[in-house]
Subunit: 200 residues, 2 copies
């Protein structure tokens, strides 16, 4: 069954935080189709903005989300990238959307400071999680009910997976490819991306 | 002096090929400003499309280039990402633009199959270069006057720098940060991105 991967986009999202996972899942689908031309693409990857308007990512890259909160397909794997999350964490509609989508998705995952949004949504309470090394002290003081782990590329808590900073989102996404489609496809995807996967 | 980094965007460009360098140079600027608040940002990073219209990257990410061929600022470092380059390599306006910009830029660099566009523009003749491992045979037969090197993250030929596939563009961009601003900033940028830099 095809996995719908929905990546949330917002102003000041970190470019590699969303582009890394986007690259991993779209490459994984292409690699799978090459191995078996009769198969279906295992992943459908798309982006969602709150209102569907263009967003300006951190540093100024302008991206047009494919969908908005009201018209996106079912999401099996929700990915929340990091970036400057100060505005997002205060938006009730955004946090409530994450809660709603997460309650029906198979997996909700964050990259970098995206973990702050998952924590604000209550998804990390009592769980282990990770975030960008620089933000660990702030995270611990804001969310004392989360066990923050350092020096790991990602933490897999089953329905919730969090990754460390920026490029660690690529390692985590390869791990998620492995969970959905097996280790062989994840390894081949990393090779196609010429990425030195930290497979731990 | 600030380095203007211009990244060419086109339909079917590979997402990580342009997002990786974008992330590196914008992060390097932020890291530098944190070290020395009185300094100027060392890099200004922007995107250019042929006509300035939105482009659909490989896999469907929709990006709006900031500039077009007729209104972009001076480019000191031109970056040509890879992707499905079949259409681009046949466009005389694109190849001529690369020739023109390259003749005035300090460095022209490619990621992955972007090397095919540099070769078509005649910039790699008699030089060493690299590209995605999978495309080496095609590259060699199309451009026999280029020495193709395998198993290197990037090849630095001074004014021309080429990188291997997809994620190798991040390694190459860190190398270019080092060339413009020194190794210390490149190392700190990699740490900020939590990227395991292949510094060879």
């Amino acid at each position: 069954m095809k996995t719908n991967v929905g990546i949330y986009l917002y102003n000041q999202a970190e470019v590699l935080d969303f582009a890394g996972p986007f690259e991993v899942f779209s490459t994984a689908s292409r690699v799978k189709l090459r191995i078996d031309r009769d198969s279906d693409a295992p992943f459908s990857v798309f982006t969602i903005g709150e209102a569907g308007q263009n967003i300006l990512a951190h540093g100024g890259l302008e991206v047009r989300p494919t969908y908005n909160f009201n018209n996106h397909p079912t999401i099996n794997l929700l990915i929340i990238p990091g970036g400057v999350v100060n505005d997002e964490i205060e938006k009730e509609t955004v946090i409530q959307w994450i809660i709603n989508i997460s309650s029906n998705s198979e997996i909700t995952a964050s990259v970098c400071t995206g973990a702050f949004l998952l924590a604000k949504a209550g998804l990390l309470s009592g769980k282990s999680a990770t975030t960008h090394w620089e933000d660990v002290p702030d995270f611990r003081s804001m969310f004392p009910d989360v066990r923050v782990i350092k020096n790991k590329r990602w933490i897999d808590e089953g329905k919730i997976v969090t990754s460390a900073g920026i490029s660690a989102g690529i390692d985590m996404s390869l791990h998620l490819v492995s969970r959905f489609e097996g280790d062989d496809l994840a390894v081949k995807t990393a090779k196609q991306m010429e990425f030195d996967w930290t497979n731990i």
